[in-house]
């Protein structure tokens, strides 16, 4: 595990890696991987015969190829697998063209839809991916194929990066932000601007007015929730509904989205940040099968 620096850097979420000890990859037929290089975090997922076997989840560095390399190495750690054992790698995310060992790049929209279908099953119809710098609302069919989508391609307001700034300024660890934001007796008015660049002055302005931390966080969570609800409503929501990405771990935002929509999101069973990489790995698995058929 990474060194715990959480006492100094409040924005720093816990990086992690994991593998399933019950799966024997040596007995597997197809070993595939997906690497999702996002603006804030990177993940690598390895599947054995279309089943999740191992993953890593870490912060993206300034160098995309290196971040992809690091994520892959960490996912492989302690598994006995090497990169050479992986038959097909799909790159996805913001830095997908910069995954040096990927055979193919697939958009994160397609990968998140596919990953969510694996995580939540074929009943999932609407996926909201809330990442570091963007939000995507995606309608999927029962096979995990994208039907339609909307994303914030013009403005990063209300994304994870802003929440990191808030956590840092308030001295509240990012993993505690959601819970703390719910400890208000009544909901405050939402912040007027969710611009990531203005997050710092927005938060300090409210603190200056004497607002307690939980109220400031509640106001920001509310505004973020309101923004993505607008996106979802434009797309049209059909249940089942689920949220992926890092913000899915923030109960303060998730519960406010649910409240405004009047719809509950499915409870995640896996790390919500790996949905994109998982989808990539599943595509890679399918591509190996297709190649074999072609031969």
């Amino acid at each position: 595990m990474a060194e715990d620096t959480s006492t100094k850097e409040y924005w720093r979420w816990t990086e992690s890696n994991w593998h399933d000890p019950d799966i024997d990859w040596q007995g597997g037929d197809i070993i595939a991987a997906g690497v999702d290089v996002g603006s804030v975090s990177s993940q690598a997922v390895i599947t054995v015969d279309g089943k999740l076997y191992a993953y890593s989840n870490m912060r993206t560095g300034s160098d995309s190829p290196k971040s992809a390399e690091n994520a892959m190495d960490w996912a492989l750690e302690d598994t006995g697998l090497t990169q050479d054992d992986i038959q097909y790698v799909v790159g996805t995310g913001y830095g997908r063209v910069n995954v040096p060992f990927a055979k193919r790049a697939i958009t994160e929209i397609a990968c998140h839809a596919r990953g969510a279908n694996y995580m939540y099953g074929p009943t999932i119809k609407t996926v909201l991916d809330m990442g570091g710098q963007d939000c995507k609302a995606i309608r999927v069919d029962e096979k995990g194929k994208v039907v339609s989508f909307l994303m914030n391609d013009k403005c990063a307001a209300g994304t994870g990066r802003g929440m990191e700034v808030f956590a840092d300024l308030l001295g509240v660890h990012i993993t505690k932000v959601g819970e703390l934001s719910l400890q208000v007796e009544e909901e405050p008015p939402m912040v007027s601007s969710t611009c990531v660049v203005f997050a710092k002055s927005e938060a300090s302005g409210l603190l200056r007015e004497g607002w307690p931390k939980e109220k400031v966080l509640a106001a920001y969570c509310l505004a973020m929730a309101h923004r993505v609800v607008g996106l979802l409503e434009r797309l049209g929501i059909e249940e089942d509904f689920a949220i992926t990405g890092g913000i899915a771990k923030n109960i303060g935002i998730v519960s406010r989205i649910e409240k405004e929509l009047g719809i509950k999101a499915l409870k995640p069973t896996l790390d919500t940040q790996i949905a994109g990489a998982l989808g990539g790995a599943l595509f890679a698995d399918a591509l190996v099968k297709k190649e074999r058929k072609g031969k």
Binding site: A157, S193, F198
Partner: protein, 258 residues
């Protein structure tokens, strides 16, 4: 009459002390968490420069986004009103006043009498404010004060696709990785911001003369891009970041009437 104008902006507190239209002292403090003490500090700096004590100030007017924080002000004015008063006092020929501050951009149309006819404000988005150039300077690893001069050495217009400062930061990083010349990136940053300001100004109608105020007016790279985009030369006062505070002080004195 000796009066003070206090402009509590998003990033800095600015104070101007004037007598009969002549500036006696100025003070500026970057805002921290305690606005009351920042206001006092900026006021003390202006008093020191003027060589005056506080009791000599007969009237104080406040302006800026945080103007309510000036507890002992005699009155307050909107930023738009103070901008127009200050700018038209300095340049009576100004018909369009553009104020680009740290977090807000404003375009104000004024009449021959200096009265506000119409205005447009961008306050929700960093793409048309000083915070944008700050973020880009960070991404380019160039000190903010050098970003403007650097961009003036560019002879090539590189298009910038992103509007949002957050996305633009990523774009700047990829331009650096693609080995685009730093001066060309600096110019792209200023061109992008100027185009945001121009489209805001066109909403009220750009009528010459155009006066540019606010801290960003001190960035020659931005000024160059804005003049190219607006297709007019702009008038810039000596201390563009103090114009709003000056306007408030002049309104307090009745030198400028509204």
């Amino acid at each position: 009459m000796v009066t003070a104008g206090i402009d509590v902006g998003a990033k800095n507190v600015k104070v101007v002390i004037q007598e009969d239209g002549k500036v006696l002292g100025k003070g500026q403090v970057t805002s921290g968490l305690d606005t009351t003490s920042d206001i006092k500090e900026a006021l003390d700096a202006a008093l020191a420069e003027a060589g005056l004590t506080r009791d000599k100030i007969e009237k104080t007017y406040a302006t800026g986004a945080g103007r309510k924080e000036v507890k002992d002000a005699d009155d307050e004015y909107t930023e738009v009103g103070a901008d127009a008063a200050g700018a038209t006092f300095l340049f009576s020929s100004a018909r369009t006043v553009i104020d680009v501050g740290a977090e807000e951009g404003r375009a104000i149309k004024v009449g021959e009498d200096g009265k506000v006819i119409d205005f447009a404000i961008n306050e929700r988005c960093a793409a048309g404010a000083g915070a944008f150039t700050e973020a880009m300077a960070r991404a380019l690893e160039v000190p903010l004060t050098e970003l403007g001069p650097l961009s003036l050495t560019s002879s090539k217009a590189v298009p910038m696709n992103a509007q949002c400062a957050v996305f633009a930061e990523s774009e700047v990083v990829s331009l650096v990785h693609q080995k685009t010349e730093r001066q060309d990136i600096a110019r792209a940053v200023h061109d992008a911001m100027a185009s945001r300001i121009t489209s805001m100004a066109r909403r009220v109608g750009v009528e010459p003369e155009v006066c540019l105020i606010g801290g960003v007016a001190k960035n020659p790279g931005f000024v160059d891009s804005l003049e190219r985009d607006l297709e007019v030369k702009v008038l810039i006062p000596e201390d563009p970041e103090f114009v709003s505070a000056l306007g408030a002080a002049l309104l307090a004195a009745g030198v400028v009437k509204r």
